[in-house]
């Protein structure tokens, strides 16, 4: 009896042991020193970098398999390689810095006095990659085809290198959309589409005709490859002969491939970047851009309900947060510091009005939080939670269960709030629940993101997220393009934004922003938490001229529209 039992146990023990070994081996992989060096001959994988010299630069930009070859800049499913590497805009707006737009297909531009006309000087001598000339007619066509933006009245070619756009209203605020985000397309290719649905259905997957540094070589469901455009208008660029974009499902696979030297360029959230950069072969830059905040349904007049409709509660909650701990524990210390004015620190500093706080407090101030509540007439109950008129200061905080960093942040927020006598109940939801809640306004608190602006000016964020024109009553879904989830509506903000929209005078703008900032810093419809990390990884052994902290010549993300074309056009290599 005893013998049989022992015999039966043997294989179990053996298996358990081998699994433990597997697990150990697996955890070893996070230690970069145990890995064969990327590019070393020790790793004979079929994808291995054995053939060093004539290999393409391999990019992961977020495509998932199967890839559908689509190089039509008007299609929502357009591939990253089309926007920048193949198609270009008139100017390049570097969203990491406060610098003037860099001339691309356009050389200069000028608005008229009231912002209803824009005159653009074009670069001469540019050719499409099919050999035809890039002309003012192509530019006019790009702005007036069937996908014309509503604010554009007309466009005309004044002469061979000058185009004049007319708008139906003052349009200073559309500068980036027109000059930095509208891709120039050839009339002789796109001219045949007479309606928007025909234009969108065009996959443009055979030989897309653009002006960019690369042209399409091959596209399959697993990858697509671009090769250098020999007639590119920038002398000596691109240095790369081939660029291959891979489809990868799952960030852990991409991380492993970057570690193994099978990817040269990717942008991805990696909580332990040392596992990739530890060998010194890979460099990382972190460019925090997009804020993470607590949306509060703030406006009782539009139907919001709950304790957070009281500005004192929002302020107390903000004061109770220990953002340093939240960043350290939930965002592994990679997140950036946020400004309560929502101007991006380091880039938009000049827009922060005098007297406004630059950075939000990183430590909790429980005493101050309790004072704010007491002054507003709240009193602590026997359970340690503040209450007024029998109503406890208790709110539900929704978070998407799949977003683990947000989930851990909400747990920290709940315990920090509790220390200040505020009850925050965390409720996990799926994507649909999150989306419905924020679109309809049926929520108390949600942890979510904001979209950072694409140029060094917080205007778009103020207008789209804070003004009364960009919101709806609770129960009515926001329209596409409206982002004011909090239902916040404030006459002073709305008027200041109107003023800022109608001018290019920086002093006038700054004064207007100052008014906005005073209101939103006091009212806190969005409680600022952190700025999300955006990590990009580069193979610096075989390739050089990547963006660095000191020379951030373009937004470094591999998925960045326009900017990825600038980055890839600049990179040198591979080294022999």
């Amino acid at each position: 009896m005893f013998r049989t039992t022992r015999k039966r146990m043997l294989p179990v023990v053996a298996l358990t042991a081998s699994i433990a070994m597997l697990a150990a081996a697996c955890s070893d992989s996070t230690d970069p020193k145990d890995n064969p060096k990327p590019g070393g001959s020790a790793a004979p994988t079929s994808d291995g970098p054995a053939e060093k010299v004539d290999r393409p630069l391999v990019v992961f930009a977020g495509s998932q398999s199967p890839i559908t070859p689509n190089f039509n800049p008007y299609a929502p499913t357009v591939l990253h390689g089309a926007l920048g590497p193949i198609y270009e805009t008139l100017f390049h707006y570097n969203k990491t810095k406060a610098v003037d737009p860099e001339p691309m297909l356009g050389e200069s531009f000028e608005f008229n006095e009231d912002g209803t006309e824009l005159t653009i000087k074009l670069r001469a001598g540019v050719k499409w990659n099919d050999g035809k000339d890039f002309t003012a007619d192509d530019v006019v066509f790009s702005f007036t085809n069937v996908a014309k933006a509503a604010y554009i009245e007309s466009a005309e070619a004044v002469d061979a290198t000058t185009v004049k756009l007319k708008f139906n209203a003052p349009s200073f605020t559309n500068e980036w959309a027109v000059l930095g985000a509208s891709f120039m397309v050839p009339k002789h290719v796109f001219g045949e589409f007479t309606s928007l649905d025909k234009l969108v259905a065009f996959a443009n997957d055979k030989a897309p005709v653009g002006t960019g540094p690369f042209v399409l070589e091959a596209a399959t469901s697993a990858s697509y490859t671009l090769k250098a455009n020999p007639n590119y208008w920038q002398e000596g660029k691109p240095a790369l002969q081939e660029v291959q974009y891979l489809a990868i499902d799952g960030n852990s696979s991409a991380q492993a491939m970057m570690q193994a030297g099978e990817i040269d360029y990717m942008s991805l959230f990696v909580p332990n970047p040392e596992s990739i950069t530890g060998t010194g072969d890979v460099a990382m830059v972190n460019t925090p851009m997009d804020p993470t905040v607590l949306y509060t349904c703030a406006n009782a007049d539009l139907g919001c309900k709950g304790a957070q409709t009281d500005v004192a509660v929002r302020n107390a909650l903000s004061l109770a947060l220990d953002r340093a701990t939240i960043n350290e524990k939930a965002f592994v210390g990679l997140a950036g510091t946020i400004s309560p004015t929502f101007a991006l620190l380091g880039r938009d500093d000049k827009w922060i009005a005098d007297g406004m706080p630059k950075e939000i407090a990183q430590q909790a101030n429980v005493a101050e939080a309790e004072k704010v509540l007491t002054d507003a007439g709240y009193a602590k109950g026997s359970d340690g939670i503040f209450a007024k008129d029998g109503q406890k200061v208790s709110m539900t905080l929704k978070v998407i269960s799949d977003w683990s960093d947000y989930v851990s942040a909400t747990e920290l927020i709940a315990s920090q709030a509790k220390a200040a006598g505020i009850e925050v109940k965390v409720e996990t939801t799926d994507w649909d629940g999150f989306s419905n809640a924020r679109l309809s306004g049926d929520y108390e608190l949600i942890i979510g993101g904001m979209v950072g602006t694409s140029l060094a000016d917080p205007f778009q964020l103020y207008r789209d997220w804070f003004t009364g024109d960009y919101t709806q009553k609770v129960g009515t879904n926001l329209e596409p393009g409206e982002w004011n989830m909090t239902r916040y509506s404030n006459k002073i903000v709305d008027e200041a934004i109107q003023t800022a929209a109608g001018t290019r005078d920086e002093a006038v703008k700054k004064e207007a922003y100052g008014k906005v900032q005073a209101e939103i810093v006091r009212d806190l419809p969005y409680i600022p938490l952190i700025i999300n990390a955006t990590q990009s990884f580069f193979n610096t052994v075989d390739y050089s001229n990547w963006p660095t902290e000191d020379n951030m010549f373009a937004f470094p993300s591999s998925w960045g529209s326009v900017s990825s074309g600038i980055v890839l056009g600049n990179v040198q290599g591979p080294k022999k």
Binding site: A42, A43, G62, Q64, A222, S253
Partner: protein, 331 residues
């Protein structure tokens, strides 16, 4: 004859019901596809240009037709083998996506399932034959293998054999770097694809072989205690003959039935495996479709799965009717 008519009618009704459910259930799902599409684009790392904002509206604009009109159009399109256009993979027709993904899934999951079955049933028969000896120690081992979470096994295999040892590729159905123009008919490509299939196939085999083994072993033990086996042994037949013709043949019947059903599900792919290995199969399409509310793609994938599962059941039914007269009478 009546048996077959009844069976065929039953399957036709089931087919109609399944296809109709296939149409209605996705429509009942909550959530706004346009919104999900936009957010996915942002989260996957992407920027929405002003031009795209316009076209997303066009692509996802809610249809004005009534549900009934959509339903009848769905049927008429279906009969012309037109499954619509995918929104997440716009503008590729769903049929094209399915045609591209099916061969990968069928070959990989199909082969792995057959290997797991043959291996499991073979070992199970042997373990049953040698019951009471050291071979019994296979049982707890295979039970453990079977209970290992599938995705975990896949991740461990990748971490050990691909990342650490570098023996196998990390992802893909073939080396995208060597075959930039896509699949081709050449020996080099086939061997490359086979090499890429080793780890995914190993995942499936390791995690499903235990089930077959235990089932077969238990049936074998039961069969070996039957009187006719004792009789065969008493007659002095060769042990190999008793093992194969008397015991294994009878004991494998339930396993064979189960195998046919499993084969029906092969087309569903192996969702987790395909996700971990970025394998270009049907399971991967299914995840994309469901998470991103791509109705046309979802209906297409479910249709293919429904059809094959029903077909496998049908074949099984007819087959049983042929070999077992009792099945024909009891219906």
């Amino acid at each position: 004859m009546k048996f077959y008519v009844r069976r065929i009618t039953f399957y036709l009704v089931t087919l109609w019901a399944a296809i109709s459910l296939n149409f209605f259930i996705p429509k009942l799902m909550p959530g706004n596809p346009a919104d999900i599409f936009r957010e996915n684009l942002l989260r996957q790392g992407g920027e929405i240009t002003p031009a795209m904002e316009q076209t997303i509206q066009l692509l996802f604009g809610s249809p004005d037709d009534s549900l009934w009109e959509q339903y009848t159009r769905y049927w008429s399109n279906l009969l012309q083998w037109d499954l619509g256009v995918s929104t997440t993979k716009y503008p590729t027709p769903v049929t094209e996506l399915l045609a591209e993904a099916l061969p990968w899934t069928l070959v990989l999951v199909g082969t792995a399932t057959v290997i797991a079955f043959v291996l499991g049933v073979g070992l199970g028969a042997w373990a049953g034959w040698k019951r009471g000896t050291w071979v019994d120690s296979l049982i707890p081992g295979s039970a453990l293998l079977q209970s290992i979470p599938y995705f975990w096994l896949a991740l461990v295999l990748v971490a050990v054999f691909s990342v650490n040892l570098g023996w196998f590729p990390i992802i893909g159905g073939y080396s995208a770097r060597e075959f930039r123009a896509g699949p081709e008919m050449s020996w080099a490509f086939v061997s490359n694809a086979a090499f890429h299939a080793i780890l995914p196939a190993a995942t499936i085999v390791i995690s499903s072989v235990g089930g077959w083994l235990i089932g077969m072993r238990n049936m074998m033990v039961a069969t070996l205690s039957e009187d006719y086996v004792t009789t065969a042994e008493a007659k002095g037949l060769k042990p190999s003959r008793v093992f194969l013709t008397y015991a294994t043949r009878n004991a494998s019947l339930p396993s064979l039935a189960g195998f046919t059903i499993t084969l029906g599900f092969v087309v569903a792919g192996s969702i987790v495996m395909e996700q971990v290995f970025s394998y270009p199969g049907i399971g991967k399409l299914m995840i994309t479709a469901v998470t991103q509310k791509d109705f046309a793609l979802m209906q297409g994938v479910f249709l293919v799965i429904t059809l094959t599962v029903l077909a496998a059941n049908f074949v099984m039914d007819i087959f049983y009717g042929l070999i077992d007269p009792r099945a024909r009478q009891n219906v």
